[in-house]
Amino acid sequence: MAVTDAGPATEVAKRPSRLFKNLASKIAAVPMVLVALVIFVGCTIWTIYHSFTRSRLLPAPEKWVGLDNYERLWGENRWLISIENLAIYGFCSLTLSLTIGFVLAALLDRKIRFENTIRTIILYPFALSFVVTGLAWQWILNPQLGLQNVVRSWGWESFAFDPLNNAEIVIFGILIAGIWQGSGFVMVLLLAGMRGIDEDIWKASRVEGIPAWKTYIFIVIPMMRPVFVTAIVIIASGIIKVYDLVVAQTSGGPGIASEVPAKYVIEKMFFSQNLGLGFAASTMMLLSVLVVLIPWAYLEFGGKKNG
């Protein structure tokens, strides 16, 4: 029996070894596999190891201190506020950008006019870097230049809207910019998913008299599950990394009210010259990601292996 899909050089009548099957693509994958192993896994282990040492400016693998860095980290007010901010920002940003993005996509999906124009406008924020978005929203939310000023000039003299200078609500000021940027992306992703849904499904549900919102919730959204997973993963990774948005808008202020973990890590590592503490913080971030990811991956892939 001649196996013909084994590559050009193996025109032999015996079954080729599995190792050499698709050899070219395997060779092509080697650099990627190496990068993944060395950089991602290797560096992660390296980071975790050094988080148990008293490394200052340079890594110092010999100064083992056990859990000291972690104790210090969790005793520090700044870190606790960072975590709290991330939790608020993450939860609101995820739910709101998904909801807003979905509603926008559903509206565009209803075949309205000027779809291309609207889509472009909504997608624009995503094309901008977080720094630009952050600066733009800093201006908009600035009491002297932005929204408050505009509303006051319309005659509502007592109007006050100054979230970025109010420690209580500053994280929501940052949230606005984050959602503004994120929901356009979610919209485009979900719109593409919606367009992939057979027109006949919609016809069938109309013939059965199922209202559009019910069709979305019970039929379309379940069908778009993979798209939602993609969107959530991308947004979630953006949330955990959020740094530039904060730096551009508030630099963590007022005081330490809008600090976030990523900012904490970078400042400990590069400005305070405390690598050990920075690594401990980034290990905590990694841990929090894994806590979310592992049960999900287990649910998603674990069950199907047996089938």
């Binding site: 006949d200 016809k203 069938a204 109309r206 059965e208 008299g209 019910k214 019970f218």
Partner: protein, 376 residues
């Protein structure tokens, strides 16, 4: 080609005994997509309990017409009545229709049972009523063992059965099918076709069925509407469509191989083409005619060998192509410079190059005016 709708035939076409009330009526329907006019001034009456097939080549507007009847497309002009009620501006769900699609359009995340009951639940029917209807439909369609499965775990034929079941539970007067069997393989298609026919005999609802498959149309239909460019060319029983096509398009479209067509002239009660002359005394003219015409004769109406002796016209032709199909054999010859197909018994041994004696009569033929292409 001119507008050759033959509404006149419809009235006396239906046998008096089975003359039923009208179930679906389409009046002066126009449908435009922007500047593209897909349906033009279309009129169609479908009787109660009738199985009507819309047949036509791709892009002729069959699905568009069906979607208009279903209310899935907003019509540009005209009116639609279902059971005597003007439903032109009603939602699809209020029209008393059920619909089955080519792509099945099942809800993939729901089980078979969920698919069949979702619409009923949404309509707020009591639980007992829902389960009664679902179990009745699943019994009719023999899908009871599949009720707990998801559509992904079903074969194409099973999926289409579920889709039919979903329409069935709606307990409506009119069922609409848009090429429901086109995604199935030949064997399954034939099986499901028979089942559909039995289903119709059992539940006796009005059914409108879109297809581009002639065999489906001929076997299922009480009447066939042949469409071309958004115009109904002929609306008649399969038998009449086959034996008395209303115009050249229908004659050419129906039948495989197509009707043999000879180009010639009708004069003095005789049709004459290059090398052929047929006395037309047996032909039933709609009105007297002389002039350029097409003479059409189906391959199976051409007699071969000794059987040809009884025919009005007898000729000898040479077999150029021989296509054995098993039950019968198709032979292509040449007559008056046109391809001329013959259908002979599968047993007869004809080889390429053989001389064949053939004969045919005007009784079996169809004549069409060359300028209007309408039947004479």
């Amino acid at each position: 080609m001119g507008n050759t709708t033959t509404h006149a035939d419809i009235e006396f076409e239906m046998p008096a005994a089975s003359k039923q009330s009208v179930s679906v009526s389409v009046k002066d329907l126009d449908l435009r997509f922007g500047s593209l006019q897909v349906l033009k001034n279309l009129n169609l009456d479908i009787h109660e309990g009738e199985f009507l097939v819309l047949l036509g080549s791709s892009g002729c507007g069959k699905s568009t017409l069906l979607n208009c009847i279903a209310g899935l497309l907003e019509i540009s002009d005209g009116q639609i009545f279902i059971k005597g009620r003007n439903v032109t501006w009603e939602e699809p769900s209020e029209r008393g229709i059920g619909m089955v699609f080519q792509s099945y359009a099942l809800y993939p995340q729901m089980t078979v049972e969920g698919n069949m009951s979702f619409g009923l639940k949404n309509a707020g029917l009591p639980k007992s009523e829902i389960s009664e209807r679902v179990s009745r439909a699943s019994e009719i369609l023999q899908i009871e063992p599949l009720m707990k499965r998801k559509p992904a775990a079903l074969s194409g034929g099973q999926r289409q059965r579920v889709a039919i079941g979903r329409a069935l539970v709606r307990d409506v007067d009119v069922f609409l099918f848009d090429e429901p069997l086109s995604n199935l393989d030949a064997k399954l298609r034939a099986d499901l076709r028979v089942e559909l026919k039995q289903l119709h005999q059992r539940i006796e609802n009005t059914m409108i069925y879109v297809t581009h498959d002639q065999v489906e149309a001929m076997t299922l239909a009480d009447r066939i509407a042949i469409m071309k460019d958004g115009i109904i060319q002929q609306l008649a029983s399969p038998d009449e469509i086959y034996s008395k096509p209303a115009n050249l398009y229908v004659a050419d479209f129906i039948g495989s191989p197509a009707m043999n067509l000879l180009k010639g002239v009708v004069a003095n009660g005789t049709f004459t083409a290059h090398g052929v002359s047929v006395p037309l005394s047996g032909y039933d003219f709609e009105k007297p005619f002389e002039g350029p015409a097409w003479f059409g004769i189906r391959p199976e109406h051409v007699a071969i060998g000794d059987a040809a002796n009884a025919s009005d016209t007898q000729l000898t032709v040479k077999a150029e192509v021989v296509d054995p199909l098993g039950s019968d054999t198709l032979v292509m010859a040449r007559l008056s410079d046109e391809r001329f197909w013959l259908r002979i018994s599968g047993q007869s041994k004809v080889k390429i190059g053989d001389e064949l004696k053939i004969g045919f009569s005007a009784v079996d033929a169809s004549l069409f005016d060359q300028s209007t292409e309408i039947r004479l």
